[in-house]
Symmetry: C2
Subunit: 343 residues, 2 copies
């Protein structure tokens, strides 16, 4: 090879765009391919939703503070979350793992205990997989399969001007949990006698290590006959996800800082570290909440569910994506949070 382009020059989304740009779908049954939370395959009216994720030790998780049982649980959850983000119901998963010989059978049992706990809680079947050796570290690849009726599929590209912008649960806590655990790890490595004190930080640590997927929200939509116009899960951070929806729906948005749901314990911990809780909510990832847009006319039904916060509304594309701060200032949203220098 004569040329060498560093992958880092493209970023993950740039890389995927690059690698897939010349590929055309061949099967009529392929309804939705790359670029959303999951792919969709048609099966005579009912559709199959497919999502896949790979988790690599020391890139996506650190076994120094991640119990293997939690890791097994989370590996399933992050994939189910993608199926719910299509408004689908997950039904099956496949799970492939590769591990070095530093892992014992008991360690794998712990991991699978978490996998099975998640499968049981979310009513999905583990239907296949592969186990193999790795030269170094633990690698996990999960594919989740789900069902959806064609009329109920929610993609990222359907947000319309005037729609309400909503998010479930609270955001930013998983990032703060990660910050805490990374800090404690550093202290421990420098001074192994000091045991970490996580007593008062159970919420943020739990949000990182044992996330849940929002099955309840998809069931609520079904029960109340609600259909979001667009939806995705919050894995990379709220502002980055909002910008995805705006870009794919060709719209803008206005959101309000004071409407962003942040857990009280998370907020206190952020203050302790002199971090801005809003910045953590906007740019921290791994919350696995659902971000969606829905017509204003559904507002009366939405307020029935205290797990849903309306954080803003959709505007014309030309108006851009902005956040109105508590102080009343308007800033341009960026993938990293907001741009204090932008309009």
């Amino acid at each position: 090879m004569e040329n060498r382009t560093e992958i880092s020059a493209l970023g993950e989304f740039g890389l995927i765009d690059h690698l897939t740009k010349n590929f055309e779908v061949q099967n009529a049954s392929t309804i939705l391919s790359m670029g959303d939370d999951a792919a969709v395959i048609d099966h005579f009216g009912k559709q199959t939703v497919i999502s896949t994720d790979m988790l690599v030790e020391n890139i996506h998780f650190d076994l120094m503070y991640t119990p293997l049982k939690h890791l097994g649980y989370k590996s399933v959850i992050v994939n189910l979350s993608d199926i719910y983000a299509m408004n689908g119901t997950p039904t099956q998963i496949t799970m492939s793992i590769a591990f070095s010989n530093r892992f014992s059978l008991e360690a794998l049992d712990d991991f699978y205990e978490g996998v099975y706990a998640a499968c049981e809680k979310y009513n999905v079947d583990l239907i296949g997989g592969d186990t193999s050796s790795s030269q170094k570290g633990f690698i996990i690849s999960v594919t989740a399969i789900g069902e959806i009726t064609a009329e109920k599929m929610v993609k990222r590209n359907g947000a319309k001007k005037g729609d309400l912008l909503c998010v479930t649960g609270d955001v930013g806590a998983a990032f703060l949990g990660l910050t805490l655990l990374e800090r404690e790890k550093k202290i421990y490595l420098e001074n192994p006698q000091i045991q970490p004190d996580l007593e008062n930080e159970q919420y943020i640590v739990g949000r990182l290590l044992k996330p849940e997927a929002r099955k309840d929200i998809v069931e609520f939509f079904d029960k109340e006959d609600l259909l979001p116009t667009s939806m995705m899960d919050v894995s990379d951070g709220l502002s980055s996800e909002i910008l995805h929806i705006c870009k794919q729906s060709n719209v803008g948005c206005k959101m309000y800082e004071d409407k962003i749901p942040v857990n009280e314990q998370a907020k206190q911990f952020a203050y302790k570290l002199e971090l801005d809780p809003t910045a953590c909510a906007l740019s921290g990832g791994e919350d696995y909440e659902l971000l969606f847009t829905i017509p204003q006319s559904d507002y009366d039904k939405l307020v029935l569910n205290e797990q849903i916060s309306v954080i803003g509304y959709i505007t014309d594309f030309e108006e851009g994506a902005h956040i109105i701060t508590k102080g009343g200032n308007t800033h341009k949203l960026t993938a990293q949070g907001w741009n204090a220098f932008g309009g």
Copy 2:
């Protein structure tokens, strides 16, 4: 953890049995779960077949003699082969990869060129995936999705006494290709001036580096209205696969050494290394041929296809699994080939 059991004490199949023994299927749509080439999900009569495999650098492939384009192609093929082994038609794949920063964008382009070439040749869509970093090496995880009608699904457990035991193409060549490339690698590492001479060994090297899946055979079955009673693909070696079918179908078999299809070039190379071509065929893996059983009454149709060899027949379970050698001796089949000391 107080106990530590080495994974190697169980072997891959023992490990999978161990990890899955307490898991029960929850969804009515899960027709077939772990233990076959692929899992099967029902969708209103038509069924979805799912198969997944993970390939890890220096465990499953060696980039010293595996061009990335070939690796991309093979990663797809090994998964499609599992779908064909159910008598299904692959329609989609997902592909997740993790790679260290030693890989450039051009290297990934080469890899995906192979992926797309396989997708195009076999008419499947790449519908999703994940790309991430790894600390070391290149890791590939593919999930293949296919279609099948309920009546045509062929599992491993349907072989009946009197059925013909058949294999497609030829077997053992991929193992000999691997042996050759490993030998050349060793010579090169000891003496980098010596360039490998693979001129006359293109067949066996090609069988290892660029295998094909037996789409043609599944199409032939469909055209001739043939339905095997059991089937699987030959990835671990012919004798190991035959024993899987015998065990899962609760039958025995008799097979004939002189009926095993071995390519002439492969045979000559085996002799050169003083290896027994039959032993290579029985215990060498990665041929991705189809091994199947079919009623004797279908013999007239089978002989139409010169890509199919009848290598023996199915017996009662009590008779065990045996091979009759060219010299007329009967040996017990083992996963490693045959047991010269057994009955």
